[in-house]
Each structure stands twice: as structure tokens, then as C-alpha cells.
Amino acid sequence: MQSLSSIRKKENGLGWLFAAPAILGFVIFVLGPMIASLWFSLTDYKVASQAHFIGLDNYVHLFDGTDQFFYKSLGVTFYYVFLSVPLQIIVAFFLAILLNQKVKGLAFFRTVFYLPTIVPLIASSMIWMWLFDPDLGLLNVVLRALHLPESQWIYSEGSVVPTLVLMSLWTVGGTMIIFLAGLQDIPRHYYEAIEIDGGNALHKLVYITIPLTSPTIFFNTIMGFIGGFQVFVQPYVMTQGGPNNSSLFYTFYLFREAFTFSNMGYACAIAWVLFIVVLIFTAFLFKTARKWVYYEGGGA
């Protein structure tokens, strides 16, 4: 017994030591930069000159309407997120349900659906740009052959965001696999019970599948929102925010202020607004989660 308690005492110091890389990493690469970012956001730091404290001027400038790009990029990002996240969740969930049936070639389909997610974004951006090319891209060639109206895809203000949403569905496989894992955890006998009561497929979906996978739906929704708010590579590579700022995604706008115009202080303020937006969203989702997320343990 004595040795055990001395081990426990030693464990206290050793535990911190083993965790030290992670704790130091958090302090150096997360907490420190966060504090610095907050401070910079209250200055007019532009790299070339000294930083001056200007209070909340950056934030006032963002919200008082003088920077039209701020509202534009917020609008574009919200439009994208609210279109793409629900679509991705529904498509991924639906595909996972299909693959949870007794399907021949399950491993094959799983692999095929997952494969797009491992392609470097820069490369998939190039492939899709080629497919979206208005004159010679395959998509319009096919539409022309079918005598359907053509689209300008990423090259017109109205269609650029929906086009990027369509492209985002290409990589829905990662979310699908997580759903599939969640579905496979549901005990078979729950479904059998519904069958005995004379329930149909819809009953199974509504009373068993959705409630029991709600924690996974919740997880994927949060991840989808956080990822959606931070889309960068596609607008940077494919559209440069255009045409006429119609794909000016928020992080692209932030990147441009920081690294093209060297407005570092201002860009930090832009980053903090994003952080607050993400925070409000996750808080909201967590709050509603109590109503619709079902945990089998019964807790929370």
C-alpha cells in the first residue's frame, strides 16, 4: 500500500512532465498568439511602422459600414455555410444509411466515396476549374450536348457560391464514414422491435436511426460549421474572391488584409470577429443539442 501511494505522489509531477510538450505547445502556439492577436487588434500595426494603440477603432471601422468588404465577405461566407453544411450532412447521412444495408461491394463503395477527401485541395481546385471552364470544360460541353442551358459556374456572380457548394459535396466521404461508424453501433434488436410493432422504414428512421445517431449528427454539424467558416484555398486558387467579390470568403478577405495590404492590426480584429461568430454558433448548437441530441447513457 505504501509503495502505491508514493507512486501516486510521484505521478503528479511525472504527469505534468509527460504532458509538458502539449501544455507548452498550447501556451506558445495558441494562448500566446491569442493574447497577442487581441492586443494587435487594438492597434494600427502595419509591419512597416510601430504599432499604436487605437482602442476599438478597428472594430468600429469594421462595423460602421466604411469597409464594404467586411459585410460582403460575411454575407458570402454565411451563404456558403448555410447552403453547404446542411446539404453535406443530409447527403453524407443518406449515403451512410445506404451503405449500412446489406450491400455487395461495401468496401469498394466506402473507398470510392472516401477517396476525394485525400486529394490535396490545391489539386482538386485545379481539376474542378478545368471541369467548370465555361467554353471548354466538360460540364458545359455536356449541357450543350443535352441542349440544356449552360452555366458560367465559378465565373459569374450568381453561380460561383452554389458551384463551390457542389464541389464541396465531392468530399462528403469523410463525414459519411463517421456516420457509418455511428450507424453500425445501433443494436439490431431495436429495429426488430419496431418490425414486431408493425413499423415501416420511415418509423425506423425517425424513432431509431436519427435519435441514436444524433450525437454523430451533432459532431458532424459542428465540424462542418467550423470548417465552412474557414474555407480559403478554393477562393484563393480558383476565383481570387471574384467575380466582383462574389466569392470573397471571410478568411480570404482576412488573408488579403494581412498579407497583401499588411494591415496586421486590422486583420487581427477581423480574425476576432470570426472567432466570436464561430463561438456564438457552437454555443447555439450546444444549447439546442440538449433538446435533440440523445445520449444513451442518459446524461447531459
Binding site: I7, R8, E11, N12, G13, L14, G15, W16, L17, F18, A19, A20, P21, A22, I23, G25, F26, I28, F29, V30, G32, P33, M34, A36, F40, L98, V103, F109, R110, T111, F113, Y114, P116, I118, V119, P120, I122, A123, S124, M126, I127, W130, L136, L138, W170, I177, I178, G182, P215, F218, F219, N220, I226, V233, V237, A258, A267, A271, L274, T282
Partner: protein, 278 residues
């Protein structure tokens, strides 16, 4: 009656799956076929499905006119460094959070986990300013060094989940034999969690291979570019040469696909593992 309904359902099921698969695979096919065509073939309407003749010069241009060879070496340096950092530090830190008892452990872990929700934009600018002040911009240090500090919360989380499934009695047995935590970690936990470590290695390789933002921010000299940035530069120069652009893209995609083909089983397990206890 029931049987017939079932078979219609089956047909619908397979139709959706097959159409979905075509949607997923088609861009790959178009990438490969376009990469082997010269401009006169590529712009033919109606489009040709198979190159005729096969043109392989497109694959030489990235190496001859842009330094794709060097980009490969650069990317490997960054990937190898990051892998070393992640594998070393995440395995150790996860051990502490999963199998050691210390005051404040769960609170510290919760704080670390919550940082997963932090948009990268918040830390990007001050980190850049910091590395610049240290004179490290335009080197691989900002891309590699952070991985030695914990190796990413996500990886720690995944390993911790896995470590916790290993029986505690193993530890007690080592203590009885006079061993310590270091013995448990190196002799028991590490060998038993080989598959989880492999998962982390695979994901780290892919994430680093695919990383665009990091090299974009920190690397200025063309001679130091990674493949992702090199490819982007390539796009600016050869904007309408779709055959060459597709060949260059294929060169960047291929290693990721080969790695996926090798470690496929672990990929699927790893993704599933992260989602379940989310």
C-alpha cells in the same frame, strides 16, 4: 408482394450508389485522361474519352521548366520533420492524459480540446509576426517545429481514446516488477498501440503533404517551395495549358493515393474511431 418491393428498393439503392461513385471517380478519370493529351486533343468537341495518341511530354514540363524535383525534396523535408514531431510528442502527452493521475489533468485536457474549435485565423497573424521577429520566416522551422509540441490536439485525443481501452492491470504488473511509467510507456503502451500510431502517422503525412496555407505564408523563395505552392505557381504560368496543369496535379495527387491504398484499412478505422466518441 414484400419481396417485389424489396427488389425495387435494391435497384434504387444500387442506382444511387453507382451514380454517386461515378460523381466521385469522374474527376479522377478526367484528370488522368487530360494529363495525357496535347492541346489539339484536349480542346476537341465532342471530347475524346481516351487520349490518342498518349502524350507523356506533359509530365516532363513540371520537372524541366519548374523545379518539381526540388519541390518534392522540400515537401519530404517538411513531411519527415512534422512526422517525427507528431509521433514523438503526441504519444507521450497522450499517455499522460490517458494513464497517469495528476491534479488538474482533466481540466487541462478540456482546455486543450477546446482549442480545436479556435479558427486558425486567430493565431495565424501573431504567429507570423513572431516567427518574423525571430528571423525564421522563409525557413521550414515555422512549419515543422510546432509539431514537436504535443503534435496536435486531435492526435492526442485519438491516442488517448485508444490508450484508455488498454487494461490497467498491465500497469500494475509492471509496478510490481519494479518498473516505472517510462517502462510502461515504451514496453507496453507503444507496442500495443501500433495501429493507432499508424493512423496518426498516415493522417499527419496527408495533412502535411496537402498543406497549402502554411507554406504559402512562410515560404518566399521559389527554391524552398513545397509541391502545393509549386503547383499553384504553375497554374499562374500555364493558365490555359490544361494538359500540363493536369499532369502536374496528378504528380501531386499520386503519392497521396498510393499512401491511401497502402494504409486504407487504418484510415477507415481511424476516421470511425474519431467520430464515435465525439
Amino acid at each position: 408482394m414484400k419481396n417485389r418491393g424489396l427488389s425495387w428498393g435494391r435497384i434504387l439503392l444500387y442506382t444511387v450508389l453507382i451514380v454517386g461513385s461515378l460523381f466521385c471517380m469522374f474527376p479522377f478519370y478526367w484528370l488522368v485522361r487530360s494529363s495525357m493529351m496535347d492541346l489539339s486533343q484536349i480542346f476537341l468537341i465532342p471530347p475524346k474519352w481516351i487520349p490518342e495518341p498518349f502524350v507523356l511530354e506533359n509530365f516532363l514540363q513540371p520537372f524541366e521548366e519548374l523545379s518539381f524535383g526540388r519541390y518534392f525534396v522540400n515537401t519530404f523535408i517538411v513531411v519527415a520533420g512534422t512526422l517525427a514531431g507528431v509521433l514523438l510528442s503526441s504519444t507521450i502527452s497522450a499517455y499522460s492524459f490517458a494513464r497517469m493521475r495528476w491534479n488538474g489533468r482533466d481540466k487541462v485536457f478540456a482546455v486543450l480540446l477546446s482549442s480545436m474549435m479556435l479558427p486558425f485565423a486567430v493565431t495565424l497573424i501573431p504567429s507570423f509576426i513572431g516567427w518574423q521577429a525571430l528571423g525564421m520566416v522563409n525557413s521550414y522551422v515555422p512549419l515543422v517545429l510546432p509539431s514537436f509540441f504535443g503534435g496536435g490536439v486531435f492526435n492526442i485525443f485519438l491516442l488517448r481514446q485508444f490508450y484508455m481501452t488498454l487494461p490497467r492491470e498491465l500497469d500494475e504488473a509492471v509496478f510490481v516488477d519494479g518498473g516505472n511509467h517510462f517502462t510502461i510507456f515504451t514496453r507496453i503502451i507503444l507496442p500495443l498501440s501500433r495501429s493507432a500510431i499508424l493512423v496518426i502517422g498516415l493522417f499527419t503525412f496527408l495533412n502535411t503533404w496537402n498543406d497549402f496555407m502554411g507554406p504559402l505564408v512562410y515560404l518566399n523563395d521559389e527554391s524552398k517551395f513545397t509541391l502545393a505552392i509549386g503547383l499553384q505557381q504553375f497554374q499562374g504560368i500555364y493558365s490555359a495549358q490544361w494538359g500540363v496543369l493536369m499532369a502536374a496535379s496528378l504528380i501531386v495527387v499520386l503519392p497521396a493515393i498510393i499512401l491511401f491504398a497502402i494504409g486504407q484499412k487504418y484510415f477507415m478505422e481511424g476516421i470511425a474511431l474519431t467520430g464515435i466518441k465525439g
